[in-house]
Symmetry: C2
Subunit: 224 residues, 2 copies
């Protein structure tokens, strides 16, 4: 009985969140702001990848770039982004394990009407909960870093199902991880999500970053 | 109003869970089973560390060792543990981001009355939600692997506050990560949790594993 009430409350929350996400997505599309949600484990290299990607997008002529930095607490990542000269808003969830639309709206309002070619959301470091909550993004992608190991698809299937692209990050660690079975990872990810795009990159060495930036340009053109 | 109802439901769930955890903890203590909960990000090396730790505990004369392997889905880790000749029960949370007592009780029942010198719970790969739910363990510890980066305390404070020990794993990666500020990590962790024990280990090379096994022996003697 109590279990049932909890599930009902959760469904209400998700339905409200979905409606708010659709509204946010439509508004951003209208004003030309392409909103991209990045999800990964703690320490997969989200901030470092965003900084490298932003550099590549600048080289391609996109000047209006912004980041919403979500964390349970702290402004460590937001400060890194700001240091790179990119407008950034810090979204502290105060212990909540995912980002929902009330938070996204408040964070976006803090940009005071700015418009972006690309606005990124660096979601909470978590391979579980963020997948469940629509953040109003036009595109969602995830990182899996090489040191985490390749055997993550069957352990965290909702995340792999929720994204348009899987970016295998920290590829410079591959020589140290002879057991990392890239082909198994790819085939398992495609079993869960047949349309998933897969990139192998290193933000540190730059490997794969041009292909990734080109893909984001193409998706922006397609979806906006 | 709705927000308030959700919080109320959550408090009821946590209170019930806490009571069930206390009961489980007392029962296991009575029968001499020391129950240890291991938490970390996906890919921090939980299963590999458990296998190395179990080997060290066997060398110290502990023969009755078991593992509850929690995952959203899949039996990848449970199979690795079983391959090492360790009794293991697979606990699939079906998408839930943490382990709660109903699950622990069902998993424990699947051992059909076995008693253990050390019974480990490999919790869901997640630095957020598991910290909130008491699992009935006598001792909780966490891994933070070197490739994840040292700047995690201020991002995930509830986890660092919830554990008796922080084990910095994959120490063999330290030479590749000159930016990993071990002293900052230690002082930040101790600011959140003054009593936290900190170990630096590599399950791959064996570095630090004897000290860690000795500490678990001592904690067992102290708490049981």
């Amino acid at each position: 009985m109590e279990q049932k009430r909890v599930i009902q409350v959760k469904q209400n929350i998700l339905a409200k969140n979905d409606a708010a996400a659709d509204e946010f997505r439509a508004q951003r599309k209208e004003e030309g702001t392409f909103f991209v949600d990045l999800m990964a484990s703690p320490g997969a290299g989200k901030t470092t990848l965003l900084l490298a990607l932003i550099e590549k997008l600048r080289q391609r002529g996109f000047e209006k770039l912004g980041v919403i930095e979500a964390d349970l607490e702290s402004d460590v990542d937001a400060l890194k982004i700001k240091a790179a000269g990119v407008p950034s808003v810090e979204l502290n969830t105060r212990g909540v394990c995912h980002v929902e639309m009330g938070m996204v709206n408040r964070a976006f309002d803090a940009f005071c009407g700015q418009r972006f070619d690309f606005l990124f959301l660096e979601n909470i470091g978590n391979l579980v909960c963020p997948a469940e909550f629509d953040t109003g993004a036009h595109l969602r992608f995830m990182l899996l870093s090489v040191p985490e190991g390749y055997d993550k698809v069957y352990k965290y299937p909702p995340m792999f199902a929720a994204v348009s692209a899987l970016v295998v990050s920290k590829a410079d660690y591959l020589p140290l991880n002879p057991d990392f079975d890239m082909e198994a990872l790819k085939s398992q990810a495609r079993l869960i999500n047949p349309d998933i795009e897969i990139f192998v990159v290193s933000a540190r060495t730059g490997e794969g970053m041009d292909e990734l930036a080109d893909w984001f340009m193409a998706k922006r053109a397609e979806l906006m």
